[in-house]
Subunit: 199 residues, 2 copies
DNA sequence: CGTTGGCTTGAGAGGGCTCAAGGCCAGTGG
DNA sequence: CCACTGGCCTTGAGCCCTCTCAAGCCAACG
C-alpha cells in the first residue's frame, strides 16, 4: 500500500525504516470512484494526497459554468490545493477523480509535527514542491503561447498522459476550447482553413 | 546590509544569532545598475538572489524579439531561475534589473551545505518557495482570463507595484500587448469602441 | 532642442471563440 | 440483439477580442 510512496521517498531523501514507519502511521487511505470529489469549492483543504492509483484534476468552476483545469495528479504524485492547505482559507477549487482512484492522505497537523520531529521529511516535501513548482512554471510559459504551440509543448512534456485524458480536459488545461484543440490535432485550424478557402 | 533579510527570516523561522551568522557569511552582495543582468540566456543560474534595493524582472526573449516577463523581484524578496538553479541546466531566461539594484547572492553549493548543517534554513527556503509558488499559481489562473479580468486581478494583488512598473512590463506579465493594456486602462477597449461606433 | 523611451490612439486583420449540428461509441435496458 | 442514451469528438460558419502596424505625443535627459 505504501510501496509506491516508499520508493518515491527513496528517490529524494534517505530515511530509516523506523522514520518511514512514523511517517506512514500518519497516513489515511481513501478510495473514491470516478467523478467523486476529495475537495469542493468553499471547503478548507486539510490534506495533501499521494495518488497510488487512478487520477485527479484540480479545477475552478466559474459562475458561467465553464471549468478551468489547473493541475492533474496521477500515480506516484502528490496533489492538493496548496493555497488552502497552507493558509487554512476556503478553497476556490475542486479536486475530482477522473478515474477510480486511491490516495494516501496526510493532514496539515500531522505533517507539521513530522517536520519538527524529522527534518528530512520537510526536506522531502521541499523537493516535491520544487518539482510541482517546475510544472506550474511551465504552465505559465505555455499560457503565453499560441494554441498550436501550447499543444506542442503539452505533448512533448506530458505525451504519456494524453491517452488517459479526455481532450476536453487537455483543452481546458491549455486554456483553449475543445473545438480549437480538435482542429489543431486534425490539422484544420483556422490558419490553414482560410488559406485554402481563398484559393 | 543583512537587516532586511534578517527580519525576513524572523518572519518565517527562529534562528539563533550564531546560525544567522553562519548563513550571512555565505552571502555575497552585488550592486548593479538599471538594465544590467544577473543572468542571461544560456548561462547556468548558480545563485539565489535576495533583493535589498531596487527591482528585477525574469523574462524570456523569443526569437521574434518579443519579450515575455514571468516574474518580478523587489525589496524583501528572493528571485532566481529556479529551474536552472536546481538542475544546473542552462537558463532559457534573462534576469535583468529594472531599477538600480542591490542583491545578496547565495550559491547552490553553499545553500546545500547550510541545509545539511541547519535544517531550519531548509525550512525557511521551503516556506519562501511556498510563497513563490502561490504567486506562480495565481499567474496561471490569471492567464486563463480575459484581458480586462487579468488587469483587475493584477491591480487587486499587486496594485502597490504598479507605480514602479512601466506598462510595457505589466502588459507582458499579463500576456497582452501594451496597446491592449492601455486601452483597458483608458476605458476604450474594443468592446466599448465598437458599440459606440455603431450608434 | 534633438533624441530616446514610454504612453496614446486609430484602423484593419486574424486567431480563437461561440453556437450549432452531426457522428461515434460504450453501456444499458427492453 | 437492437434501440436508446449520454459522453465525447468532429466539423462548419460567423463573430469578436486582441494583435499588428503605424503615427503622434509627451517628458526626461543629453
Amino acid at each position: 500500500m505504501t510501496d509506491l510512496l516508499s520508493a518515491h521517498i527513496d528517490r529524494h531523501i534517505s530515511l530509516s525504516n523506523t522514520q518511514k514507519s512514523l511517517f506512514f502511521d500518519q497516513l489515511v487511505i481513501h478510495t473514491i470512484e470516478k467523478n467523486q470529489f476529495l475537495l469542493r469549492e468553499n471547503e478548507v483543504c486539510k490534506y495533501e494526497y499521494f495518488v497510488i492509483k487512478g487520477g485527479l484534476r484540480l479545477y475552478e468552476l466559474e459562475r458561467s459554468g465553464n471549468e478551468k483545469v489547473f493541475y492533474f495528479g496521477f500515480e506516484d504524485w502528490w496533489i492538493t490545493d496548496k493555497y488552502s492547505f497552507l493558509t487554512g482559507k476556503p478553497s476556490l477549487y475542486n479536486l475530482q477523480a477522473i478515474e477510480d482512484t486511491q490516495v494516501l492522505a496526510i493532514s496539515k497537523e500531522k505533517l507539521d509535527q513530522l517536520f519538527m520531529d524529522i527534518p528530512a521529511i520537510e526536506s522531502y516535501f521541499h523537493k516535491v514542491l520544487q518539482s510541482t513548482f517546475a510544472i506550474w512554471q511551465v504552465h505559465v510559459l505555455l499560457m503565453h503561447k499560441t494554441a498550436a504551440e501550447k499543444y506542442a509543448m503539452f505533448t512533448s512534456m506530458y505525451g504519456s498522459l494524453e491517452s488517459r485524458l479526455p481532450q476536453q480536459l487537455i483543452a481546458s488545461y491549455l486554456g483553449m476550447t475543445r473545438e480549437t484543440l480538435n482542429r489543431i490535432k486534425s490539422g484544420t485550424h483556422d490558419k490553414l482553413r482560410r488559406r485554402s478557402r481563398s484559393l
